[in-house]
Subunit: 404 residues, 4 copies
């Protein structure tokens, strides 16, 4: 593949080893100006500290930093949560949900600086390349996309470090790194090392944020969460922005060892990978939302919400956020979420978040109806007719069989 | 509704207060012979002790007891588990799965004794009436069905006790019973009492089998489970029948407080109810099966299995076991389960069953493919083409927009 | 069942035999004032002529007539069409879509006149009773519902006619009526008579509106339809309201024998029925919409639209219009329909409506991409990578098998 | 991409221009022995005449011809029809269903002759490359795959003809070919030419098999089809093999202009294409099967069959025949098809196949139940209870709203 002509490229820059190499590599291989773009999605101060200087030291002509934290939680995470999406039954999509907003903000910078290309530092074996490029295709089909990991010959950290050293670009990255990690406000993922063999249990050091259930407090803690239109609006009586609510619940979750999962998942590129994910606050929020849904969604609506969850989990995982199908799914779940208002009390204890109390003004539960006495709304004699018709086709079919 | 003419009725008899009243009530109101049928589905020795005598003392002409334990686990529970069914995201369908096999065995007794009617002791507000009568419609559409709770005027335990006392029928049932419970080898359910208000947390006495996470051992325990064709065949290296495997895992689960859930669910009859369910061994088994599936099912197969699980959860909950649709769903999941072979190690600790190791000869996971180096099967340059085509419709659509 | 106390009831009045009997029957049996409500949903002038006088002659204290034609097409039919709903693969839901709007307008009259009950004339074996009462439950749960056909003893036309004669209520209904029919702007349905045996072919007189294909013109006619946001806005270049567009296309369809179907369908009450339906304009519209979708929906969106169509067909058929689930489905399809803009030419010939030309500014079809030459957007070498990853899990699975 | 080492390759050979070029091209570019494989899937005698000699004249060392006609209909088409699959609502999957069996037979030849590579002549923009290579991945992951159209530089018929002329390989192919066609026993597809612009109506010469409705007989013809287990077993009282039944119905369909469709469809590779397909006998068979289903499938089973149809349509179209998911779907539809037994009479007239009579011993339709009189099985008073419970959640929800 011959290289395309590029004048100015915006690269999604993290400050890590890979993207530090990418900047000089782009300049050398594409003979173009390189603009660094840094997305603050809550990955933490440590990663962001001095990042503009670092980018420039690597050769970037400028560095744009966008604070996407509130927008990510409000416009990407909360809508996804309304669908109930949980990939392959376990994964709360932490990395997947962050990619579209990063890509979108990156495109905005590209438009602003008049770039003609976009670049990301994702490897050629993972999902993130698809998520970035899927967003680019939908938002900036006219811009070139450069994916250095699919182009260059560098195959080890050592080679990357050598590459920088040869060019006198300072880098504090260590030669060895056991795990590959990705963090944002919602979660941190850990892959590699001991996890590469599925028969190995995760080590203690596979977990980056949460304490182990064994080390969590012996005393349970409860937290009260208010839910409005399928979104968390208060924690323990305090009105909070979406991001602040998440941060608050992360702290509690981390302390009690909440939200660890260890799964083998199907990547979109056709292979499986194994990862450990920590989603402390998110796990608590999911429990809260599902509990309010238990009160307010009728049987058919609940079943559809479950189906939407499966569909959304694949769409979000597969990087299809900016597609008509994803918008359609989100419109459906948003409609259902209009009833999802209420309050829950969740007990946090040694790795588990358990809803113990719940209530809602929209609750379809009624003590009066559910118990065994008489009531106005439900006449037990109705059940006879209901069952008769409900099972009528079975009866007719069985009568046919008897006749044969 | 005028009463039908009945000569001999087979009643599903539990030995409890309700069905003890039903026997004399049937004789008085239908002027017919009453045959008691007791299903042993693992509800425990206590309930079964002396039950034949009790049935006869209540007026039954005879009492048939059927040991359905192995058949229930092998032919009803295991097939359901292959679908991944979990009603409304939480409930492992313990009561639902037992009803069809009880009804089927009851019909068999009815055929044997030449009965012309079937009777159950379910209330007119619950799901069980539908599950029994749905099975009856499919298996014995020619037999009458009598549902005393929808016919008689008795509305309290006190009235039921008086009814028996007036007829000198001995009964050890107490006047007050806080909770309504249903147990079998798979689970025990608890409804009523404090649970009737969703804002009340469950009391300690809401839980019948399991210790609380707080009282569970401070030391975790691991258990190794072998899975063949989607079914548990060995526990800790010991080959066990389906029922024995369940009993074995129940013991472990009970000890570690595994498998408690507290939910508000949609009953089929249109109302919601709140229940606490304990499924200790079942929860462990579900984790084991899902973990092997993580290794062996490809992305599309996994997604379909999730969809089958939702559908099956409703079918089983709704008493549609003996329908063409249910058979179709089970045929589909059985086909997928042919690959579900492997071994998992599960850690039990304070209420949680966590898979920490897993392996399978059918595993689609390969360390070689998943890691970042080169390999024979996966060429990173393929990803560029994949992504381009994968996102092609997004690109075309976006190019259209640019043109406008 | 003891009768409820009712002061004033609003009855859905058609002017036919059944509802003419219902008015005096209600007054006699409920000792209440009866208000007639007539919905004009395009059933035709003949049925509406002099209907107010007729209602009053039957004993109604007043008669409200609501023209619902435009609203029905715009707010009930068009949204349903966006989902692609076609019940059991054939039925375009003509009767089903009209029921919710009639029930809603009836409730509005009840509120206006301060009624405390609602009444419909649907039989106890059909779907319409559920559609009416489903709407009443959602819109007026506080009002009583009276369904005379499930209460009274009249079982034949003769008895109904006698009932009116005894009371000197004039009625022009004939003693025998071969077919049971229901008409509105969208369709006319025919049941009964020769159709009751599925092995009988429909007679010529089973069809009320359309000519037979044999009698249709030997010369084909074409019609051009403009579609905007999934709705028909122009016919042959003329801007038309939804209702007028339907009327226009009905005329053309009737002339060419378009839109006849003859099916056995599953009623919600558990039995099957056989009906002949004529939907001349509707069939043309469906073809037009599906053709534009072919141009603008991507593969995944198209598949979801098909799934929405199945779900919506059941929801609409089952009378679940005013439910959160239905609103959610409609929100999803409405989102997809935003791209459904374009123009089609349809050929009408002897029973068939065939799209022969189609175009759209949103078309994802591009001659340039689809043909075999080179282009900017699609590089054939991409396909190799795509296929490799697309089939990777098959390859890994097969390699596993080879190893065994 | 450097070329792989290949000793002996089996090429799917059609005798057309493309595959005639491929044989010498493979020998020159891979320096290997080339074995031709010809699949007889009912494409017609013309294409097969003298094909062995032609293959050898092009340089093939040997030529294997496999008669797959009966197997294709029995094991690929009939199972697909049980799902009701119809891609994007229109396309009966004629080309898609043939590809897996051709690929499978090709692999069998490769094993027999000890080949180490497989080759097909599909272009890099279509679906067939994926169908072939998807099958190869599942059945022969150890063999190399060569797709010349993605490798070579030939881009026109002229260049292909020159290529052969330079090598003195005889070829009767013409320089210009307006349409691209693919035929087998089930269908013939036509692409290209005037069809490349969607606003063009198809020309008369776009249709290869069927007469136009206008030219079809003015007299309708009826045909009686017997269906057993979802498969056609008799036509007009004559027991026929699957393939013979298809041939018989093709003749009738061709004569009456049955089975023409003209659609724009989504290819799996992300672009749309436009094609005209003729499936004369298949269209008649689909009508027959769907009609019997109307009689025997209950509401829930019918809905699931519709869902299976959508899923299967994508799986078959996308070349996923040999996957666990496809097997699972087919197992589900096969289970439902066990009830699909019956007989239908279909009227063929000017482009339309219309079922006018149908019956089945498994029919759930009963005149007795469906009409308005009393019966044993259905008591109209049951409907009241049914509706009450069916709409209970709507009622509770609406009562909540009233309270607010």
């Amino acid at each position: 593949m011959s290289k395309v002509n590029v004048n100015k490229v915006v690269v999604a820059y993290s400050g890590g080893l890979d993207t530090s190499v990418i900047i000089p590599w782009l300049k050398e291989n594409y003979d173009c100006e390189v603009v660094a773009f840094v997305a603050d999605v809550g990955q933490g101060e440590e990663e962001l500290q001095g990042i503009e200087e670092k980018a420039k030291a690597s050769g970037a002509s400028s560095c744009y930093i966008a604070d996407l934290k509130e927008e990510m939680v409000a416009d990407y995470i909360f809508p996804t949560l309304k669908t109930g999406a949980c990939y392959e039954g376990k994964y709360l999509l932490g990395t997947s949900m962050a990619r579209p907003i990063i890509a979108k903000a990156q495109v905005e910078v590209a438009r602003k600086v008049g770039a003609d290309a976009l670049c990301h530092g994702c490897t050629g074996k993972g999902n993130d390349q698809i998520r970035f490029e899927g967003a680019f295709a939908a938002l900036a089909p006219d811009l070139h996309v450069i994916a250095p990991w699919r182009e260059w010959d560098l195959v080890s950290r050592e080679e990357c470090l050598d590459y920088l050293a040869e060019r006198n670009i300072p880098c504090t990255a260590s030669l060895t790194k056991i795990y590959s990690r990705d963090a944002n406000a919602w979660h941190i993922s850990t892959e590699g090392g001991v996890l590469e063999e599925t028969w190995n249990a995760p080590n203690d050091d596979c977990w980056a944020w949460t304490v182990s259930p064994e080390q969590a407090p012996d005393q349970a803690e409860t937290v009260t969460i208010k839910v409005e239109n399928g979104e968390v609006t208060e924690v323990n009586g305090e009105k909070l922005t979406p991001y602040d609510a998440l941060v608050n619940l992360n702290e509690k979750g981390v302390k009690h060892g909440i939200g660890r999962i260890d799964i083998v998942e199907n990547r979109l590129v056709g292979m499986k990978s194994r990862g450990c994910y920590e989603t402390p606050g998110g796990t608590i929020i999911m429990e809260a939302l599902r509990a309010v849904e238990q009160l307010v969604l009728d049987k058919a609506a609940f079943e559809f919400r479950e189906e939407l969850g499966i569909k959304a989990s694949h769409l979000v995982y597969d990087g299809r956020w900016f597609t008509p199908l994803c918008r359609s799914i989100l419109a459906a779940s948003d409609e259902l979420a209009k009833d999802v208002n209420g309050e829950v009390v969740i007990k946090l204890y040694k790795g588990q978040a358990t809803v113990i109390q719940k209530r809602s003004d929209n609750s379809l539960y009624s003590e009066e109806f559910a118990t065994f006495g008489e009531d106005e709304v439900y006449d037990q004699s109705h059940a006879g007719g209901f069952i008769r018709l409900y099972s009528l086709s079975s009866r007719i079919r069985a009568l046919n069989e008897l006749k044969k």
